[in-house]
């Protein structure tokens, strides 16, 4: 085991995959500087700075992926994906299908998002749900160094386009990471981060920590919360979520992204359709508001669900425990 930051875990995953497979290459505005180490190791042919031109960078990755390379592109901040939307949604997501399976798109798109840097809504916008909604794409948003490494490696090896979101606030978090170059975390598998009986807390990215903190606090009041870290948003590990909901009968979903048509909506719908009989209380969504992220620290923080919010939601849910128990 090594003790790495998430930043380091990402770099290690990229290094190992580039080492393993000469078809893996990187492109993006400044990648050859931000990942100078990779440039030194693998040279300027495989680690390429690009012009500020997200549309053609993404399109180039799509074209390259269909032609035998395995590109990883870094588009920096998630809102900049709006410039690359045609390449990602209409090309990467659809041209395999529309061609009757002629093309594969082993392509990873890296980007960052999340509050904590006072940069405002044009850098801080958790828009992962847009890509979950779009067909043909996979979406990953891990929360621990080990998962960042293991999922990024799996993403690079996947033959489909994968959107890989990094919550900026996690970048310098540290954690144990298996050293093996074969440490892979499969796409589509959630991680049960804490077992519990009374309520299921589901989250991904930065707010997993919020849920873990809340679970800790809840345990002090005798409430046992199960915490699931989705890690992959698509494919979604429905089984793990449903199993937990069936056990606890209560579901609280927590994320920083806006609520409307977000992942919490998807999970609530999942529970309401496939674990309805087991639900013992209303499903609760704790999400960011339907508002752009403000830069001002106090507003930025006010928009993110925190452990206190989770605790009080759970307490409300369980207040009527005796009544609603079946």
């Amino acid at each position: 085991m090594a003790f790495l930051t998430i930043e380091q875990a990402i770099n290690q995953a990229l290094y190992e995959e580039m080492q393993r497979d000469p078809r893996v290459m990187m492109m993006g505005e400044g990648v050859a500087k931000s990942r100078a180490w990779l440039l030194r190791e693998f040279g300027a042919t495989r680690v390429r700075n690009t012009p500020l031109a997200e549309a053609v960078v993404a399109g180039t990755a799509v074209g390259a992926a269909a032609s035998g390379l395995r590109p990883v592109i870094d588009l920096l901040f998630a809102p900049f994906l709006t410039y690359a939307m045609d390449a990602l949604v209409n090309s990467a997501g659809k041209l395999r299908y529309l061609s009757g399976g002629q093309h594969e798109f082993p392509l990873v798109t890296l980007c960052m998002t999340g509050s904590g840097w006072c940069v405002g809504a044009q850098h801080n916008h958790n828009l992962e749900a847009m890509f979950v909604h779009a067909p043909g794409l996979k979406v990953v948003m891990p929360s621990t160094p080990a998962d960042f490494k293991g999922l990024l490696k799996s993403a690079v090896r996947d033959n489909n386009p994968v959107l890989f979101f990094t919550d900026l606030a996690l970048l310098f978090e540290q954690g144990e990471v298996p050293e093996s170059a074969d440490h892979l975390v499969p796409l589509g598998l959630a991680d049960l981060r804490r077992e519990g009986e009374d309520v299921t807390l589901v989250s991904y990215g930065k707010t997993v920590r919020v849920c873990l903190e809340a679970a800790e606090q809840l345990s002090e009041c005798g409430i046992s919360a199960e915490v699931i870290d989705l890690r992959s948003l698509k494919p979604l590990d429905e089984a793990t979520v449903l199993k937990s909901v069936r056990k606890t009968g209560r579901l609280v979903i927590v994320h920083e992204a806006s609520g409307l048509c977000g992942m919490a909506a998807e999970l609530a719908a999942l529970a309401a359709s496939k674990a309805f009989d087991a639900l013992r209380a209303p499903v609760v969504r704790l999400t960011g508001p339907d508002a752009p992220a403000a830069s001002s620290w106090v507003l930025e923080q006010a928009a993110v669900p925190n452990a206190g919010d989770v605790v009080s939601s759970v307490e409300t849910l369980l207040a009527n425990r005796s009544q609603s128990a079946s």
Partner: protein
Amino acid sequence: MNSLIGHPRLRGLDTMMLIRAYEERLAILQQQGAPGTCTSVGQEACAVGVIGALESRDRIITNHRSAAHLIARGAEPPRLMAEVLGRVDGYCGGRSGTLHISASELGVVLTSTIVGAGLSLAPGVALAQIMGQGEKGGIVAVFFGDGAACEGILHESLNLARQWELPILFVCENNQWQAYVHRLETMADESIFNWARGHGLEAERVDGNDADAVGEVARQTVAAIRADGRPRFLELLTYRQRGHFEPDDQAYVDKAELNRWLNHDPIALMRDRLMAEGHLDASTLASLESEVGERIDAADAFAQASAWPDPKQLLDFVYA
């Protein structure tokens, strides 16, 4: 290919006639209820001229108006027609329909009907080529319209191709129309190739209805790209004879302009020239025409007989 074809330019004529007949048949099928198409009627010389200058190791990116490019590259009308009708024997198993036909086996890859998308994809295909994927020395020819040239992606694509020295032949078929808008309403300049020159690319403009002229400049340009690996740009002046998407009454089209171009039809031009030069006589022409007609009848019969896809396979090919 027709056994009557002695002279190589006759082959070009024959291909143009096949494209024309194929698309005219699609227009008829459309009137009988088949999905509409964007025909390349009037633009056949662009496809035949440029694609004739390419080799099998080269890759082609086309767009919504793809039939000429596909057939010039050797695509079979039966499978094309089956695709347009949404049948299993189509190149894409019916999933594409007319607007995004890829035929990777022919090197016609990644067809997108999003105007300008080909310009975003071409650098990646070329990058893979120079990074050792596929056969050595291949180039990419990307076909796009005057309308696509107005999309921002042109600028990004030209800049990246130049900066990274990607072996791309940018082929702008300037057919004067962008759906229902004349290009003079959307661009103040007469020429599109100046935009490429602003990027420092070598760029030429040529009569896109003259297959000989297109072929000549395309051969030179392809040779130059193969020699130094740098991108180049061709603007082919041509005209969209049948309107944007079948059916199109072209009520909005200036009849005088249309007639000028009808009188400069690429097939008639080549036919008359070959006759004048003694490479073609009336009876050979008649045989070519009838063989083309037979091929199209056969394609039509094949396509109509082809099965519909099985709805149970709806989700095939979403993910690899």
